[in-house]
Amino acid sequence: MAAIPGGADHAHDHAHDQPSGIMRWVTTTNHKDIGSMYLWFSFAMFIVGGIMALVIRAELFEPGLQVVDPDRFNQMTTLHGLIMVFGAIMPAFVGFANWMIPLMIGASDMAFARMNNWSFWLLPPAAILLSTSLLVPGGAAASGWTLYPPLTVQMGMGMDMAIFAVHILGISSIMGSINIVTTILNMRAPGMTLMKMPLFCWTWLITAYLVIAVMPVLAGAVTMILTDRHFGTSFFNAAGGGDPVLYQHIFWFFGHPEVYIIAIPAFGVVSQVIPAFSRKPLFGYASMVYATSSIAILSFIVWAHHMYTVGMPVAGQLYFMFATMLIAIPTGVKVFNWVATMWRGSLTFETPMLFSIGFLFLFTLGGFSGLVLSMTAVDVQLHDTYYVVAHFHYVMVAGALFSAYAGAYYWLPKWTGHMYDEKLGKLHFWLSIVFFNMTFFVQHFLGLAGMPRRIPDYALQFAEFNKISSIGAFGFGISQLVFLVVALKCIRGGAKASAKPWDGAEGLEWTVPSPAPHHTFETPPVIK
């Protein structure tokens, strides 16, 4: 892509009569400020959710009850899931979107700058609601992040707080997605056709449509739980003529696309990083766009593979099994394209590339265990075991989180104007990949041996693998602090980063100075 970089000439770094101090951040409408806030918020939530994970792993270190009572244990698994999905991973990628989409398409800001501010500032109240629900009588929601009734109809006020938090988070995501779609559709620089956009923008365009389509479904589902709890309805109460399985259908109609809402932007980040460090254009750009769209469309028609055990006709089981397996095809296209991009490239292995390759290996492994679980006959055996826990952590952690780290290391020089500490970055990667596998690989064996998930105590034969997994979890948790050190060091100083610190990187974001000035592309660049 060749650009006449009008944007760099028109970039400036003075913020016009902008408040300073805390009010700068409260009132900011700048996409870079808001992107930074999203990223810091998500990291803070990652730590909070991570601490909950460590409570879970501490309890599971050995059989018996040691650290928390069973009810608190269930609250931990629930809040860990909700916080990681809605508070950590989703906002992290919205942070990337805020920072990078306007820079990548040559827009001066997001389409709705004030709504962007509001989208972000809805998050902290929701996070406070979720976290403080631990303190109310009866404690937090303790149903698992899926919030299945009839349990959720019976719980205390912590459940109402979780429902309210989910509503707020949903509104925030929908507003953020409307902003992203509008920005991408209407504000691309002249000459930047859709098929010339960086793949990260494509993945976010598709993701934003998914969010707009399925978040209201979740909002509807939790609203129905709320009315069952307080307004005398019986949507999910069998005693009143309702059906708890209905909730599972509704939840997973949201829940499966949600998996891709998390994974697709991760694909986008990796699709930026791998070409840069292979010094080759992305292999099969158009097929990547079509594969991503296919994954998004298929994600709507496979939801009941999460609920094979509820008692479904064989025809239904077969349909959902084969539909689920179909997803492997576009996903395979993507994986092969990433590998083909690296093929005969001038590869170097800086931290972003390491995390991307880690993603490639481990996400593919998570995909394979997903294929195993897609088979009804197998899933009936493995449902609600640690095999499932292992599978989705390979997708969520090694998939989404590793890709988020790849993106963070890749764009840190653009954000801060400094190069990060490469040695510490690599240390972070190697510690993460070793401890990640130590934590989650053994959980496959636990699941295959029959250990159920969401229980604080277990039979003696599961003790060794649980011990290994818990040690791995603490190692993984502590290694994430290395990233905090790297990020803070990079913000405070370090070697100056040039406008394009990675020689293989392509795109408009590398035509503006590092750190990116407060205002960029006020005159749109022209793409040839």
């Binding site: 700048n30 001066s108 389409a111 709705f112 409307i178 209407n186 509807g220 006020e522």
Partner: protein, 43 residues
């Protein structure tokens, strides 16, 4: 709120608002369809 939002011409602003309204209408209609579908199912 910060008084300075990046300058945008009126045509683009209108186009953005139109796009956003379509998207918001889509989201709201999914939610309303839900309430109608299940709200009217004899609950």
């Amino acid at each position: 709120m910060n008084s300075r939002v990046t300058v945008m011409d009126d045509d683009l602003r209108r186009r953005n608002v139109r796009t956003a309204l379509w998207l918001a209408a889509a989201a709201v209609s999914v939610f309303v369809m839900f309430l109608l579908r299940y709200g009217m199912s004899g609950q």
